[in-house]
Symmetry: C2
Subunit: 346 residues, 2 copies
């Protein structure tokens, strides 16, 4: 075996030097592991939605073309890091080998089946064969191998939740877990994009944490979308508003809160230009959690300053301690939500 590598995987960065594997152009994907690495036999890639959409378009929907593009990315970069969208995804695999240096440090054992919770955009990967492409849910079955760094996070797949369902939930695990940490009893909470995948999980956690003295408001842009989740009883109020129209969203939240506005706003949309609406939906002393990757740093910073708002605005770190457990637990607690997720995302 080789010597110890950097916990963050910088020992595998080929170019440019000095950066971490995620921003790197090219990393070393030789499958001989360092002493603090874990080798995985890969079963399924769950390609990031933005990335897979781009690849499908470039391939004109042709399956062989998709395969060609995917293997091309990996042979060029040593990882499935889409050069157009910059994003990755996650994978399901089985532990094949554990570096000597990790003995006693990890609970994993050879044969464990897990989902990686770090992006494919930083994971050394080799694709030997692409077996099946499930175009509708962005999943691709392959024969191949991957490396998990010492700092790499993962979730061992539970026995009581189907793999595809677990993968869908884990994809957005950071959002409900952060919601659980941010919402306090009695809070008024607005979830923007509330009937989306991360939105529903956030509503569930928000209602649980805000409790009977709190108020949870689901905001979505289409009435049919809202109607589709009413029977799940995830929110106290439902509001139809286009959140790119800041004033429309503010007025809607004002009405739903009797002018009080929200203590916590969780932004789960998948489109740009909702920063200002999120700020106006919150109290001056409020807190906004931007989970949406379409958030612009400058629009949020200048937006709040521009109207003299002291709002605290958090960059949606996709990781927080226990996020996998918290999100999977929702599938166990709520029969109704589990059914909805199986119907939509598995």
């Amino acid at each position: 075996m080789k010597k110890m590598g950097c916990p963050y995987g910088t020992h595998r960065v080929i170019e440019p030097k000095g950066v971490l594997p995620q921003p790197a152009q090219k990393i070393d994907n030789s499958m001989e592991i360092y002493d603090n690495e874990i080798l995985l036999d890969v079963q399924t890639l769950n390609v990031d939605s933005a990335s897979f959409t781009q690849i499908k378009e470039q391939a004109g929907g042709d399956l062989d073309k998709i395969k060609e593009i995917m293997t091309g990315i990996v042979s060029e970069r040593g990882k499935h890091h889409n050069p157009v969208t910059g994003s990755g995804g996650m994978l399901i695999g089985t532990v094949a080998k554990i570096g000597e240096g990790l003995k006693g440090k990890t609970d994993l054992k050879v044969g464990d089946k897990l989902a990686t919770l770090v992006s494919l955009s930083l994971t050394p990967l080799v694709i030997e064969e692409i077996n099946e492409i499930r175009k509708d849910i962005d999943q691709v079955d392959i024969k191949g191998q991957a490396i998990l760094f010492e700092s790499g996070i993962y979730a061992v797949l539970p026995d009581d939740i189907a793999e595809n369902l677990a993968l869908s939930v884990l994809d957005v695990a950071g959002a409900p877990a952060q919601t659980a940490k941010l919402v306090k009893p009695g809070d008024t909470v607005v979830v923007i994009g509330g009937y989306g995948k991360s939105g529903m999980l956030c509503l569930y956690e928000a209602k649980k944490r805000a409790g009977v003295t709190g108020k949870v408001i689901c905001v979505g842009r289409r009435k049919e979308g809202i109607d589709g989740i009413r029977d799940l009883d995830l929110a106290d109020e439902y509001v139809v508003a286009n959140s790119t129209n800041a004033v429309e969203l503010m007025e809607a939240v004002k009405e739903a809160t009797n002018g009080e506005m929200a203590d916590v706003v969780i932004n789960c949309v998948n489109i740009p230009n909702t920063e200002m609406g999120s700020i106006l939906a919150a109290k001056d002393t409020g807190l906004i959690y931007f989970f949406s990757m379409a958030t612009s740093f400058t629009k949020a910073a200048l937006g709040a300053e521009g109207i003299g708002r002291d709002t605290t605005m958090l960059i949606g770190n996709g990781y927080t301690k226990g996020h996998a457990e918290i999100s999977l637990q929702i599938m166990r607690e709520s029969e109704a939500l589990r059914k909805k997720f199986e119907e939509l995302y598995a």
Copy 2:
């Protein structure tokens, strides 16, 4: 007089409808005020550094060309909102008229001299004449008028601090004020870009709040830059490191903290690609305040997730309650820092 307008100024947005004045393409800059607006006679524009650099370049340094570009922007958009950089700046002016609806609501009186603390990119402005351009410090004296909305924040200029000095300090007031709120006694604090304008103010506040049991570390990329502020005694340790090299920065902070890393990281640089270095400089449970406008939301979010870090990351809202008072107070408390600021920025 006209009727009441929206506190945020949406009543002056010409296009597109539904947005706030900041993101708007064009706003109404007629100088007849609404009942909740304040009319200002403008003396000096302090153009945002990124914006003014762009204008100077486009003009090839020619003063008449600069005037032409500036008046062109305002006549087209109704505000000094640079279409290339998207940024604005601030202004110094005197209160000329106060809307009826603000009587009893504002402490201002006609004749007060103030600096606006909301961006020029949302402030209705008319330039009648450009009198003087001070190219080196981005300040332009004009004859003209501007409107302050009801939600618009400002600072009445103090008698004991020169106007230009006050303007320079107020430009970055959010950074030291946030530092004052985030740093607790005993904290280890890293300020990246520590010998810059906002950086020095943050160091000062950090040292004051962290106290004798804390440790404040100044990070800069040039040894001469560090040496230039050593005699100000703003930090406990000084580190030369290029913060775009994440590993170099991490190792330097590791050494300066005996491997403990920072409780709070304040990012005050003016260049991109320092997100990963900031994350690695912080403890897993640490907090990062990104004041730099060159911060990328996705690089920060994916960066932390990619190495499984639970770091809390704040979007640098340029406003927080009391920010003007807190930053100006530093100029009164520290004779040495005031001299340095007069030398460099006034």
